[in-house]
Amino acid sequence: MRKRMFSLVLCAAMMAGMVTGCGSGAATGTAGDAGAAESTGAAAEGTAATQAAGGDAGKVVNIYCWNDEFKARYDDYYASKLPDGYTVNFITTPSENNAYQNALDEALLNQESAAADDKVDMFLVEADYILKYVNSDATMDIKEIGITDDDMSKQYDYTKVIAQDTNGAQKGISWQGCPGLYIYRRSVAKEVLGTDDPAKVQEYIKDWSAFDETAAKMKDAGYFMVSGYDDTYRTFSNNVSAPWVDADLNVVIDPKMEQWVEQTEDYTAKGYNEKTKLWAPEWAAGQGPTGKVFGYFMPAWGVDFVMAGNSLEKAEADGGKQEVGNGCYGDWGATTGPESYNWGGTWICAASGTDNGEIVADIMKTICCDDETMKKIVEEKNDFVNNKTVMEDMAKSDYSSAFLGGQNPLQMYCDAAAKIDMSKISPYDQGLNEEFQNCMRDYFDGNVDYDTALQNFYTVIKEKYPELKTN
């Protein structure tokens, strides 16, 4: 009997311990929340003292994105304007393998049931899959939150058209244009071609046959014309005659895509490339001080956001600066290259059901429409902004890019932007582009023949998009 009493007491003690454990945990949680609320209040210095913690519900702006490019723009050009009492959260998911889209879809589908502070307010999309969101109810017509035609009057037309749904509602807005150029290494141009003048270098790569000849010269001199298999991809994929997917959801391999495969196969066999993979460390190293690659096809964001950082001898993380003399920063030039093309671009969408429409609209107006801010973005960040007036002015100004050895490449970008046609995109482009490049690697590596690679491509896209049909 005594034994049983003893065990009962033990059990009771254990239960009590668990209960108190939970209790104290909850208490700490509450205290933590209160602390957080206080610190938010403290951060928003100057807010009316009456603003209670409860009143802040929904004043959290959630922005979904896949890297920190937009966050950098936001921090530099909008953060200081954010009204008191608001908090901005960036929810970042890398875009590879559709991971970003899947995370975003999940959030958007739960939008209605989400707590006010967890609702998606704004999200970023790329050209490769913008149509999926434009033609859905997940995005709002931005005119509803106060962006007018007038605000968007200076923007490049293709950036507006791409973000309109079938009824003409404007579902997104962009601050940048992404016409691409060929960015070459000046020292190599001088050594092999005898000149580093953009206009003269352009003569050597004015079309694909000239490009081939120059590639052979580069090879003889110990350089690579392009870095890897994927580097010329966008110049072809952006000039296709029809979208990847036709009206009946059949996947169509465009002749331009076949041309890319042929060219890359040829370049690989002849040793014109270094067999790297886009974004891989070896690919990035080719842009560095010891790189052997003559040039890269890059839009403005790629020059600023990717190449400038990669070109440094002493990385920024180690205290280096983006300045001439650090690595091969400044040893680059820009020229049009064999074909005009567009690569990427980021559009901002307002999520349906947002409870912070005014903040979303204000961010859009500031970063995508305001002349003053956009001009600063060009001057300070070398981005190509989506504002014809600003760009044409800057192209004629004495603006110069230190990274490009003092060149003013803006007129070339403007000319290329005028030629961009984005009507041949499909909602499936990200998955299809990524997997096409990926599956063709096996062919270029010599592991399989072209037909097998193509078959693998069909297999993998049917896994990704079960509704697509292939032959």
Binding site: M1, E96, N97, D105, D442, E467
Partner: protein
Amino acid sequence: MAGKEKNKNKVSYAKWGYIFLVPFFVIYIIFSLIPLISTFYNSLFENYRSGLTQIGPTFVGLQNFVTIFQSDLPKYFGNTLILWVLGFIPQITISLLLAIWFTDLKLRLKATGFFKTVIYLPNVIMAASFAMLFFALFSDEGPINDLLISMGILGVPFRFMSSVWGTRGLIGLMNFMMWFGNTTIMLMAAIMGVDKALFEAAEIDGAKSFQIFTKITIPTIKPIFIYVLITSLVGGLQMFDVPQVLTNGKGTPDRTSTTLIMFLNNHLYSKNYGMAGALSVILFIVTGILSLIVFSTLTGGFQHKKKAGEKK
């Protein structure tokens, strides 16, 4: 008083036995049985997401199974088995060797405890980080290639991730490194469970080490050996994290390192619950058959031993 107490005890002991079993069954039903049944149920539906639009669920009977058998399923099954064999053969060989050395009293090995810990260590690292480490080490311009070139073994970097057997070899190597410690310890336990008198008797009868190994050690540890084999095979069929991380989820080159579970994962990426369910059911059946084999071998093995004992 005394009789009463006795009665009470009888009743309550049995009751407590059941009560202590309840948590297991509750947890099993919620977290294993219900998902298992719903997987079967889901496999009969067309159910996926196209962009932001949900397609289905529509009942399609066994259509998903037909589609999956028409796909590259045999190829992925083959890949999985090849990758498993590549890891298992060196794993079982080295483990057996080490287990015998560690348990052999004649060798008088020192610091076996230390070595046992060291060989077990790779298993402690998370498979994903282990694969990331290998990815970095064996990349086109990674340290291994640098080393091989500076030692003069290679002229140009060997592109491990672009070669079928390079990639498969790395996966096999990783699985071997992660699991041979575990297997060694299991086999050691098996060998130590064998009556020492058997070994001594064999020695006195003039048996050589190799004879003792083939005639005494192997037959006596056979049940554990088969257990190791089948659990490793079941684990191998579910191989996922190492090839997934090493090939960045692509199963490259030419999908030759795509395992069954990576194939499953690909379907889950488009939220294709129907196809994923069907594939899971197939895997369940295969694993179930393998488990039955191990069960019958183990129980059959013990019965055989008992009979042998009786005869004596």
